[in-house]
Symmetry: D3
């Protein structure tokens, strides 16, 4: 069960409205790697967690924090939209600077949301649940989480570069720091699990049911062999159980497929 | 530019048709973490690559391999659908075993695809491009790739457990081995990049624009402190630049938000 | 069965082209609360109607009218796009006013639709059927309809404020009036049903299978008690069968969830 | 900012696993009118609220409660999936009862989620943000909320009828009671606003810009006049400002549309 | 403007309920090539039509007919759902035949739609507007229409094979005939346009801006030359303006792409 | 199985960056009729092909070519984004020309993709698999393919008109030529199949199960008879088996639908 306090986790106060920037900021609210994604991903991982209770508690701690991040960014966007020129101004129609602003803002911010935030991304595309994963395998999911915090922090940093508003930058500085912690947090949890389980997900599948001779081979399917010089093609494999091999001309070892004609009731192409 | 050979990369020959299993197998073809996802993710990362050429070549090698994996699974599904009882059988309507099969298969396999594979997942939901990311930051993207190969192998292993067909299991054994290599490959590439850039994405953002005092704090937002016992709350941070701190009662340090009334032309709730 | 006459229900004649406004107007054509939504929602409610015939007839009357509204707005948009500067003009590239217009219009209007309307919203997002509901319970559905007409009229009014074109405003004045009637219509139908069935949907579920002691309690899950002063926390409940109660500190009365470890064939995190 | 306690708001304990029912229960978790929808709808309405503080507080109270409802249903689904026969059982393949269960469950519950809940509906379709609205006009939005609680309670009641498991029914009895309260709550808030603003959304648009002679007319666009006998076609309009009129043969008063040929650079059909 | 008559265009009367078949029949109602697709595609093509009035009239004739097809199928589905065993039957839970039916039906038909049709396909996926096209070029669009009627009739025929219910088959026999007419209709309209414009869309683009030496070459990008024996690789091209050429080893004639490093503010991978 | 060479099929070198045009060019990469659509459509048709091997080989030839087209356009877009003003420029904020550019570009190109191409269309909407079809009936599918190449070429031509950049135009000239060939190719394959099977899809359904008297009737459902003058209403039908008939007032020959009240457990509107 959850409860709410009115104060935000950190300040979300722009120095002045900027409806064009409001559109851009939607990306880290309702985008593929926005705060809604980590919020819902962590909450579902926590609720579905079948592992030790320290994991369940930890995941729900961070999931609960993320709701507060959604709240901060939504509040920021609403304020960036204050006074947005949604309203027709006859002279404005002739002023290219005003027109430019109108062109760069998201018209739904005015028409649909009455100068409020949307649960959408910077293209106006709605958030959806396929942005998230809760697989029941914690090592797999923590890798999803580390990725989400990496993509997320990258996007916040890019948005930091796109504004000079000190109030907006202040809030982003907080989110950038939290995303650093969250990357560190998932790296720590991953390290813990890899030490006990091994590095390959899932660790519980027997290698005897695996085609061993392709389990450590780098296959060169494109002309040119620059790829032979990387760590992935040389030395011990990262799971500590094999040695990387570079296969210059990987063969096609399967059948040449020939499907049966379809039965009459399917009305495929007649033979 | 690409070219095609007719032989599959590995065998894809079921011992017998099984339309119910065909529906399940769609998950690793057109699902969130299916082969279409890694194929398109790697191809776009390769085409957009602005880093050293060994990365571009390597990413396109693996992207090209993934097209062959999509091909193998599509071929397998088409064969699993051979002889599917799409056709009404009057006596069948009274035979619960036949009805059960009809209930468990995806009717679109017959109606829409004429006993062929779909670019969809096990729920019939179409593959879409928001399953992929190409951010231009290779460390971020390789973490996305490691996650995709981890979730993907987990799903293939679960599907292996759901069948006893030796032909299907043979193909899955190949994919499971390749997904092990691909996890190792991305771990190797990540290690290389972390050693030169540091572990936090992006590494190029100045820490002076980050709120330092929350950059290594684990915040306990849920009752109970089981989460305090994990690696993420104790010791040196994984980026080697800080020390984890456990904050038992994290405060709300932002403002209590109060938005301005909306302007008249927005027709919000009148004051 | 349906038939068509060529005249529109009301005029749809802009005074001059305005491709940027055409993009905005898409919201009330193919948006969440656009005319396509009410058209399809009412048609499906009518076709599925299992209640008295006066309801079926009434719902299909209004559903049929809505097709005419889609037609009017589509016609308007096509005319607003006449002469759109899709075409590159070399000097235009240096004229900020022309560039601004190009920036604010939807490029698909030219590339995909050849200066015609799209079945999409103002962000270019396609209309989809999850915008509609036909539940088989008329009181529930008439509330959906009243909501749709309320959100819809609000959006049309906002679009009225965003233009000064007298021809566009003339058409919107007609739609605004019809949406007023449609709000009144659904309020009337709701009143009729509430008087015979009661106000809570569904009215046919026995209260003995309901946890009675939380059926009229307002629960305060957020710090601060401003919410205690509203009508929803004081006096008789609106269904006439209870009394509102304000619960200042609502308790958590369920179990502390602990899920069983997953079975081996699921390959979750090993214990 | 938010915090979490481990106990659920109410019990969520099934008497026994039932993976087929788990699939159905997804509807009220991640469906169009599931708990995720009201949770996100209320949170965004609260964060964007520009009206009196008692509204903001009230909306966030109920939004915060809804997160707990999502949590309860997710927990229930995970338990209903305990022991799901995802695993191939050779003899099972011949037992129609087991096959039937396999046919009726959602295979993604095993393959993707490892016996955990999904943020999806009963068809496996992902939750998306276009299920919600926050328009900035409270009367409009409270009607959306009343609709959501009406559709939602109807679905929970139908699911109650589809099980005999006393533990599942116990949880549903709680949700059914809360949805009754929530319908009452929104009816109370609507009554308050209608008394001060009037019944038509938005109330602030001047009637002089509305085509008055169609503002209270019921138009009969379908053969047969059963619709003339309803309240919507007779007597005073519900906003208290007009009288309903029944128009038996509504005319087409607009132009017969003729669009200009498209310019050459559009490459439409040549004249 | 549109009007409605109560009688269906043709009978839609099943001999008996069949909820599993109802799920399948959704494909031709709300699927990619269902009646909703042709209805909306034709209506938008008609409303956007900038060509001769005989085309606009013809397109709207058929678009209006398609609304009646949606109506017939929706009515059929509602009747197929009469008496659906949505309701839990304790003994049923043990009867594999009843369970099988429950497994094969769409649970949303009961939970969401109260035994009514959905605007969705056979997988429960909602209809969306990207299934349609109105490009403003009639030859292009008539090819889209011919395709839609071809895919559509194929699906109806497959559904005909999946039932023995004489009432359902009667309705499908009507739709199969109309789809034959509609294929003929679009073929006729295409023939007319091709004779005046030529066969390649768009016909108005000057060939001097086209790389002529690849305009009639069949390129063999896959090992094996079975493809050399088709009409597409031999003889005069179908537009009457060239000769097909078979290119056995098509070359790569473009540059080897090398992208510039990204600027610092993008925070890509550091060089 | 596939392999890759580094050189592009044809040049993709813009003369200068143009981030606004990059947004538009996305349409033919990841739009409904973009190169991703034909690539995936052809690959799945090839993999599912149950007809003669010359078709399978031919379809995979062209499918493999289309991957190279995706590659060319992605490469072009990345270069058009070089130097995009994603970065805030204080003076720029006051320069309407720079603002206009910012307004017209897709902000996700910077925030999400770090100046790389997206698998999305010109509105930022992600590519999805419902854009494609592989029905198992080759005549149906080749009509889908002819349509795709017609819509696709039309869009490329429109994009050609929207730029004056000689490098961009050079690449488009290549694509326009290939789309001409591909239209010719599908026309040739269609002609071949129509000659052996007949023109109506599917040709294998017995006409005795079709309502013959509506199989060649053009029905006039809209006021005005301009549609009577087309080829579709006069003369021999295009399949050579009937004669077109114009029905001026098509009747409604079905029942007036009356659905049964819903059962109690559905909780519909009470009678
Ligand atoms: Ca290589
Ligand atoms: Ca805790
Ligand atoms: Ca409160
Ligand atoms: Ca009527
Ligand atoms: Ca070949
Ligand atoms: Ca006509």
């Amino acid at each position: 069960m959850f409860s709410h306090v009115k104060e935000l986790q950190y300040n979300a106060k722009p120095s002045q409205p900027d409806p064009v920037y409001a559109k851009k900021l939607q990306e880290i609210l309702g985008g593929q790697y926005g705060e809604m994604s980590v919020m819902m991903q962590y909450l579902f991982q926590g609720w579905n967690c079948r592992a030790e209770s320290k994991y369940k508690d930890m995941i729900l701690d961070i999931g609960t924090e993320e709701i507060a991040h959604v709240e901060m960014i939504a509040t920021m966007i609403a304020q960036l939209l204050d006074g947005a020129p949604a309203h027709d101004q006859e002279q404005g129609a002739k002023d290219p600077a005003v027109e430019a602003v109108l062109g760069g803002m998201n018209p739904q911010h005015a028409i649909v949301n009455g100068l409020g935030a949307q649960p959408n991304d910077a293209a106006g595309y709605p958030w959806n649940a396929r942005y998230t994963i809760a697989s029941g395998n914690m090592l797999a999911d923590f890798r999803a989480n580390l990725n989400a915090e990496s993509q997320g922090r990258l996007q916040v940093v890019r948005l930091y570069e796109m504004t000079t508003d000190p109030g907006v930058r202040d809030m982003l500085s907080f989110l950038i720091a939290r995303d650093k912690m969250h990357q560190n947090q998932w790296m720590a949890a991953i390290e813990e699990l890899e030490q006990t389980q091994g590095a390959v997900v899932p660790s519980t599948f027997s290698t005897e049911h695996e085609i061993q001779d392709v389990a450590y081979s780098f296959m060169n399917f494109s002309e040119g062999e620059e790829s032979s010089t990387g760590r992935w093609a040389n030395g011990a494999s990262l799971d500590g159980k094999g040695t990387f091999e570079y296969v210059q001309n990987p063969g096609a070892n399967g059948q040449k497929p020939e499907l049966k004609p379809s039965p009459a009731y399917i009305h495929g192409t007649p033979p």
